[in-house]
Symmetry: C2
Subunit: 648 residues, 2 copies
Amino acid sequence: MTKYLYDIPLPQARLIFEEALKAAGKAGILGSEEVPLNEHALGRVLSIPIWARLSSPHYHASAMDGYAVHSDTTGLASPASPIELLIGTQAAYVDTGDPLPAWFDAVIPIEDIEPVTETVVDSEKPLKMIRIRAAVTPWSHVRTMGEDIVATQLVLPAGHILRPVDLGAIAASGHASITVARKPRVAILPTGTELVPVGQPVKAGDIIEFNSIVLASQVIGWGAEATRYPITGDDFELICQRVMDAAREHDLILLNAGSSAGSEDFSAQVVEKLGELLVHGIAVRPGHPVILGMIGKKPIQIPIIGVPGYPVSAILTGEIFVEPLISNWMGKSPQTPMTMKATLTRKVTSPAGDDDYMRLAVGRVGEKVLAAPLSRGAGVITSMVRADGITILPRGIQGLPAGSEVEVNLYRHPNEIENTIFAIGSHDITIDILAQFLAEKKRRLISANVGSMGGLIAISRGECHLAGSHLLDPESGEYNVKYVKEIITNLPVKIITLVGRQQGLLVAKGNPKQISSLQDLTRKDVAYINRQSGAGTRVLLDYHLRLSGILSDRIRGYHNEEYTHLGVAAAIASERADCGLGIEAAAQALGLDFIPLYQERYDLVIPITYYESQLLHPLLDLLWNIDFKNSVASLPGYNIDSMGKIIL
Amino acid sequence: MTKYLYDIPLPQARLIFEEALKAAGKAGILGSEEVPLNEHALGRVLSIPIWARLSSPHYHASAMDGYAVHSDTTGLASPASPIELLIGTQAAYVDTGDPLPAWFDAVIPIEDIEPVTETVVDSEKPLKMIRIRAAVTPWSHVRTMGEDIVATQLVLPAGHILRPVDLGAIAASGHASITVARKPRVAILPTGTELVPVGQPVKAGDIIEFNSIVLASQVIGWGAEATRYPITGDDFELICQRVMDAAREHDLILLNAGSSAGSEDFSAQVVEKLGELLVHGIAVRPGHPVILGMIGKKPIQIPIIGVPGYPVSAILTGEIFVEPLISNWMGKSPQTPMTMKATLTRKVTSPAGDDDYMRLAVGRVGEKVLAAPLSRGAGVITSMVRADGITILPRGIQGLPAGSEVEVNLYRHPNEIENTIFAIGSHDITIDILAQFLAEKKRRLISANVGSMGGLIAISRGECHLAGSHLLDPESGEYNVKYVKEIITNLPVKIITLVGRQQGLLVAKGNPKQISSLQDLTRKDVAYINRQSGAGTRVLLDYHLRLSGILSDRIRGYHNEEYTHLGVAAAIASERADCGLGIEAAAQALGLDFIPLYQERYDLVIPITYYESQLLHPLLDLLWNIDFKNSVASLPGYNIDSMGKIIL
């Protein structure tokens, strides 16, 4: 009841934290350690610069296999008049890397020497000679001492992150050990009575505890060490105990979840009891119930971050607060992402009081780099998996219209973004399988599910490479062609069949309500779950309702809409509804029963430009690939007879 | 004597190797292993796609702390006429993440609820109520089952490299373990009688063995496991033995050095004896004596790569052959570097028969991105340390003129390149110290040493941000001003003093030839080593020779030139010469004696545009930084009295 959540602006929160770290003597490098120079030093950060102790080469070295000579003795040699040099006094054989014998100043490569001849003066000791036909300049084919590194020069500055080549240069300059920043030790404490560890069976209300895995791997990726503690229940005393334990052996504590102001949120109280609560609540979204504090009494304090429980909030808290702290403690610059400008595909709104971290799928479609906003939910971890980058809508901005240019902080290499196929339209599980097969062909397929109609509109706007569509024309009984011609008037497209599939009614296991046809939808005891308007399945329903003379008013739940087949299945599985029209694969996915009703065609609509592009080439190939076809054919209710058939 | 070195074009060599790998069944993923899902899976490559086993959330979950209700019961609530709902039957308290009780379909956040009231009907059991002033829509503040992940959907494709967020998504989708590509095991065998391990004292002819460290850390960085073997001498039988040993437990052998055709180069013979020599010599530079082969009898063979001994060749062999092989074995795409277009600062030549991997320093100077070619020597590892990228001059091209545009494969993040200060001109050790201090200020200073005059010319061409210069005007006795005015006529510049320093004669320890003044340079027994023309030190020498009436013809070695103070010192230390004009720090660096003669001024010349830029701001600040000044003042022969003084 004494907990308050303020929304402090991010820069201010950072400042407060930095001041507290300074006061605790934890604003710079935590410490250094000497480590042997070997492959395990890769990625460590130098805390002392490397000045060369030794030159490299540390002697005049032959750069070739050949004969060392003094250049003065070769002056008269020419193609027409070769000269001979006595091996021993005037020439000496050297391998690459051998030191130049004293008073020699050049090497003649073995391939420029004519076969060695013998001059017998004393039969016991025949004199051996080399014959050459060109003069050499001083120091030719010699790596002179210090050519690479001169003793005392700066080899690498402090703060440098060691790459393979650096380890070589440090060794060459005469060092056998290096002084690097000690790795910060980070404790990660998952708390929450509702948490269960990965691998255990779950029941309603259980939450699989994976934030600690994500945070630990972030921390390891940033160069620090991570300790994952076991789950602690929502027990104030127990959490205090664990935090105290962790504080003894770590440089930073990440206390996960319980950072908000709910009845079982103890983090703020824990920090207040054990030290100093600096910040509770920061104006960033997602992630705002972040806690910043210090454990222990001044001046001996260690920082603690109360990390929100929603996975996206947790990940962003890591990126915003933990990464810069770890980098600073190791004496390196915080990571700066690559950036890219992109055009928003749709309007977005944003809370005016917060810095809003918006996840985006990014792809190049023709000349434009498009950024499609992904789910804004803090619990939707797949939005982070799918995110190609993030744009920050700063405080004070309430949104941006479609077509706005945004600066994207990239999570991916720009090359990957160039190899991305952007699909918008109706979703089908075959699209997932396509994505899987394309990954092996170095293509990334990302799809936004907005229904068939939405996909055709996206094509006409130049916002995607292809759209999946299964729109029935009620007059002709034909699929897609009429809609494509009506909606996409500005560019030529191909329509290619991906798959034939069964549509039918999804019902609970065992079909407890004995539903068997569309007629049953009008029963008082039956709740229907519908697809959004514009979805092919919705068009299909409406077509058959009209054929059967059923009025939609008479169907309970007709106006409750889901955006995917799986969404419909989930609604039925969770008893939100009794039945819905959809595909058999979705029924099977969630253990539902399926009443087959109609066979329909699911096509890909592709602008000719992309149809003929290198980008889509592997996708079109797959439509004739036997492994892909078999994968799809093995799905219940799918028919691959027409796969790859060109409709238009 | 049976060894031949052919120069096979790179694509052909790759093809031969790939065919042999295919025949040995080693062209794809080597194998998979199941690992537990935890932070140690970071960076591993999925070899089986992840399909969701569980939905996330796997139940309808409250998205807020508040009261679960059925939306139907809230329909009549409005600000003016609140309604009350009975806790228990009409409303139930839920924390964030709690499952929604059956038949409820929405959550009202705690902050939208007016204080709970009690209606005492039965004093034993007072009824508790909540009061609300707004209707709620179905499923508001609820994370519906499958909102994030629906069971059966594709979470991640095979071939995906696991990031922290992926581990979370995999856990959320119901997996406790994953199947990833097994890490390839790479054996690294350093050979050569001349090699000594890091940390041992060296004598002339000894080479510090660090290629195995560089190769091992490359291999580890690419995701494989590396075994470094001890050094094997140039002993054919012993090398064969080691290779056989390594072949038993590894997937790839890197046999370092001995890959050329010299008298002690056994690698090709070893491969021929133990298996199949596929390629000996590839038309790439540096690196051409590469060996590709297979150890063992068909079809049970493991690949071996004979890696050249020069460090730059070794590193590039790793990048060209080892990285793609490891990536392929793990089922991921080979690394593709970021690229950037840049303008060559000088003409380069290239062997027409080879693909020439040219190392470049890259920086932005004004509007131009400039690429300065670095040392081409295969032994110059610092050229790889300093390289910001590589451009490949393909076979058939014999060179490029200055000003050519090249495509650079970057080794660094483009952000770093934007933060790079490009210095061209006279070198001074103070520039190294500046670089060290600037690294802490997030600036990279790279310098090309071409002498004072060369630096002024580079400024006038817009090819650098600053030039170090110490050019004496023989008429006025003043430094730099006259030269700057003569050479840089096209843009306004500032001249700022960096340091005053002592110039004098560098001589061997103990001054065995008793040299004490310029007069001694004309002695028959004294060999001089000079600086290149255009160097400030050369101008200084010539000025004083004229003052003293000494003719340069009378100085033995006057025409032997070095490009740096340290180069001059190295020439004397290695007895190539007896004395040379230079600075005391260079003498001290190599243990030479120093005869002080003149005090001179070393200035920085900076175009006004850069003088006022954010980029150079930290550098100019350092001229007033006490730590920096102390570092410089502690150098022998340096004087910081005028540091930071503006001359022009």
